[in-house]
């Protein structure tokens, strides 16, 4: 430790850094820290502050759009835990999201003549919307753990189709195809998050309240996932992903690790589903189909495999892309607005094409996703003015 002006700390409580060398660590704790560089700390603070202020400066529908980003991001983090970190590729994420949505709707909305409901408050139905899918994930996982790779991907695809069938047939819970049911009311302690409220003498729009709630939840769940990923279990995930036989030889319990990954992932999916239902308003069984699973996979792949911030970026990309296309499609010649029209392509076809092409292009050109793009930018400035 010659040349180190700080004291060497065995306990690792005190991070020691040299002036001008912020990335020199002398203990494990600071190497493993969540925000390990001053730049990360500053940017995170600025970003959080900006996102806290944004809803009060934006149009209502943009606020709702950003809220949707946060909710999808929770689901994407869930899928990234099982598929990105643990390497168990799942095409069945939409099933667990749907399960969460209907659990929430059943628990959170009042019973009607044709639908069952318990009318509970959000602080009860939201955790349960995560726990019920988690339990189902826990039960399915041992079967899923028997197969690997592409067999697993197609097996989980079966879950989506079976779930679709159950959602369509369990009419007293889901309303059935083409009808659906209204989402649960987001009421916490008598406070309805979807209505305009007076809080401490300030009038706050319902959309903004729900935005802040989802943002807070995303931050908590993202940090939890990040912590899981750098814990012992998280390292077991990575070991199983990289080479499962080698992991088992080193003493990683294979089945238990896979089951844990599926369970946690399903929990995140369920929470995502419960909240997503609220932004949808009415939830229909057909919404939780294969395309939704593909959307989530695209979030993970475009954002960045095995990164939490990548999942959030991927969710933002997938949710915001259709809106961007809709806004700017009129400037592209040959594109007609609306579902029918005289142009070469409709807006929806352009959206779909762009989505498909981007998935292909990202995987071929930048397999690390948007997180990889960011790494390139960061490394450029780290080494500046030298290019290597």
């Amino acid at each position: 430790m010659t040349g180190n002006r700080g004291s060497f700390s065995l306990t690792g409580r005190r991070a020691v850094t040299l002036r001008g060398r912020p990335e020199l660590y002398t203990d494990y704790a600071s190497d493993q820290a969540l925000l390990n560089t001053p730049a990360k700390r500053t940017f995170t603070l600025v970003l959080v502050a900006a996102l806290l202020v944004t809803p009060f400066l934006m149009e209502r529908d943009l606020t709702t759009l950003l809220t949707t980003v946060f909710i999808y991001a929770i689901g994407a983090i869930g899928l990234n835990l099982v598929s990105g970190y643990a390497g168990q590729v799942s095409l069945g994420h939409a099933f667990f999201v749907g399960l969460g949505a209907y659990t929430a709707a059943f628990l959170g909305s009042e019973a009607t003549s044709s639908l069952r409901g318990l009318g509970l408050e959000m602080w009860i139905w939201l955790p349960l919307a995560g726990l019920v899918p988690a339990v189902i994930g826990f039960l399915v996982a041992p079967i899923a753990a028997r197969v690997r790779g592409l067999y697993l991907a197609i097996l989980t695809l079966g879950l989506v189709f079976i779930g679709d069938h159950i959602f369509k047939e369990a009419r007293t819970f889901t309303g059935g195809p083409g009808v659906g049911r209204r989402a649960a009311a987001p009421i916490v302690g008598g406070l309805d998050l979807s209505r305009r409220q007076e809080i401490l003498g300030v009038t706050v729009e319902g959309a903004n309240l729900f935005y802040l709630f989802c943002f807070a939840l995303l931050v908590v769940m993202a940090i939890a996932a990040r912590n899981l990923a750098r814990s012992k279990s998280g390292r077991a995930f990575a070991a199983v992903r990289d080479r499962d036989i080698a992991a088992e030889v080193m003493g990683v319990p294979l089945t238990r690790t896979k089951v844990l990954a599926f369970t946690v992932s399903s929990f995140y999916a369920g929470i995502c589903g419960g909240l997503l239902a609220i932004t949808y308003g009415v939830i229909e069984p057909a919404a939780f189909n294969l395309l939704m699973s593909v959307d989530f996979l695209a979030m993970v792949l475009i954002g960045g495999v095995a990164t939490i911030s990548g999942s959030i970026a991927g969710a933002a990309f997938v949710v915001l892309l259709p809106r961007l296309v809709q806004t700017y499609a009129t400037y592209i010649p040959g594109v007609s607005r609306g579902s029918t029209g005289g142009g070469i392509l409709t807006v929806f076809q352009v959206q779909g094409l762009l989505f498909g092409v981007l998935i292909v292009a990202f995987i071929i050109l930048e397999p690390r996703g948007m997180y990889g793009l960011w790494l390139r930018v960061r490394n450029y400035w780290k080494a500046w003015p030298f290019s290597y």
């Binding site: 590729v89 079967i143 028997r146 197969v147 690997r148 790779g149 592409l150 067999y151 991907a153 197609i154 097996l155 695809l157 079966g158 189709f161 079976i162 069938h165 369509k168 047939e169 036989i245 080698a246 030889v249 294969l290 593909v294 996979l297 792949l301 029918t340 392509l345 076809q349 779909g352 094409l353 989505f355 498909g356 092409v357 981007l358 998935i359 292909v360 995987i363 071929i364 397999p367």
Partner: protein, 299 residues
């Protein structure tokens, strides 16, 4: 008994279409270790081109089918060259995800070509009529489906086992590097396997679009039933694809025939789920399907 036979033939015909699609998956998987999720989109293109050549350009029907098969095979080969060739050596799942992206792109192109109407390929061989043997009812189209699929499987099987190119393709599927060292043009084998799978999908598309059935923008999703078929039969077994396809088709036909009785217990339209239930049940007993090769693990 006669009812049973009628349903059985119906199921075998439906299963033949699944088997053809599944064969495309198997051919590509064996050569490149990729599951091609874009296969259903190629099938829809097959139906479109058959209709285009047979109805718009008035070609004789067999010729139209052949032309459609060639066009879709070329689409397959070009797709492989553009999108899948750069993925050689990447993890199989990344490549599979590329094919999901291709599925989205190709489906949109196919739907744009077809438009919002239901497309039929016409009725060239009196496909819509039914013949009776005693009380057993069989549609002419179903006879063609069963026969053409059997011929296609025999053809592909013979091609892989007997021909020089087939030998090179099997060598590639066993070990790419060794095949390269033996002078096999591995890249060309990849393209060829995609072309072969495209041709099979084109033929399946003709079958789906004929005989009282049409193709619209939801057909591609129905064709995903080839996925439980290949898992049931094993990802790398042509025999598995054929038998798996027939099993799934027959199981589906019998569930549909009894759906009135079943709906009281498990709800309507169970036949949509049956392939997946069978798949999961089989995987619990045999994780690599009925005829798939178990992966040997070495540390």
């Amino acid at each position: 008994m006669d009812d049973l036979l009628t349903i059985l033939i119906r199921g075998l015909a439906q299963g033949s279409v699944y088997a053809l699609l599944a064969a495309g998956f198997v051919v590509i998987y064996r050569a490149t270790d990729v599951v091609n999720f874009a296969q259903p989109a190629l099938m829809v293109l097959g139906a479109y081109f058959t209709a285009l050549f047979a109805r718009t350009y008035d070609l004789p029907f067999p010729l139209a089918v052949l032309a459609a098969i060639v066009v879709v095979a070329m689409v397959g080969a070009v797709t492989e060259r553009i999108a899948l060739r750069p993925m050689v050596g990447e993890p199989p799942f990344s490549a599979a995800m590329v094919t999901i992206g291709l599925f989205l792109v190709l489906t949109i192109i196919a739907n744009r070509l077809i438009g919002s109407n239901v497309l039929t390929v016409g009725d060239p061989w009196a496909l819509d009529t039914a013949v009776f043997a005693g009380n057993v009812r069989m549609r002419v189209a179903d006879g063609w489906r069963i026969a053409l699929t059997a011929v296609a499987f025999a053809g592909v099987g013979l091609f892989l086992v007997r021909s020089r190119v087939g030998l090179a393709m099997r060598a590639t599927s066993l070990d790419q590097e060794v095949a390269l060292a033996q002078g096999v043009n591995v890249g060309r084998m990849f393209g060829l396997s995609w072309a072969l799978a495209g041709g099979l999908a084109g033929l399946a598309g003709m079958m789906v679009g004929s005989g009282g059935m049409g193709v619209d923008n939801t057909t591609a999703f129905i064709a995903l039933k080839a996925l439980p078929v290949i898992i049931l039969g094993g990802l790398d077994s042509l025999k598995g694809a054929y038998i798996g396809g027939l099993v799934i088709g027959v199981a589906e036909a019998f569930t549909r025939a009894n759906s009135a009785t079943l709906s009281g217990y498990v709800g309507a339209n169970v036949d949509v789920v049956v392939p997946y239930v069978i798949m999961i049940l089989v995987l619990m007993v045999r994780p690599y399907g009925l005829f798939g090769t178990p992966e040997v693990q070495r540390v």
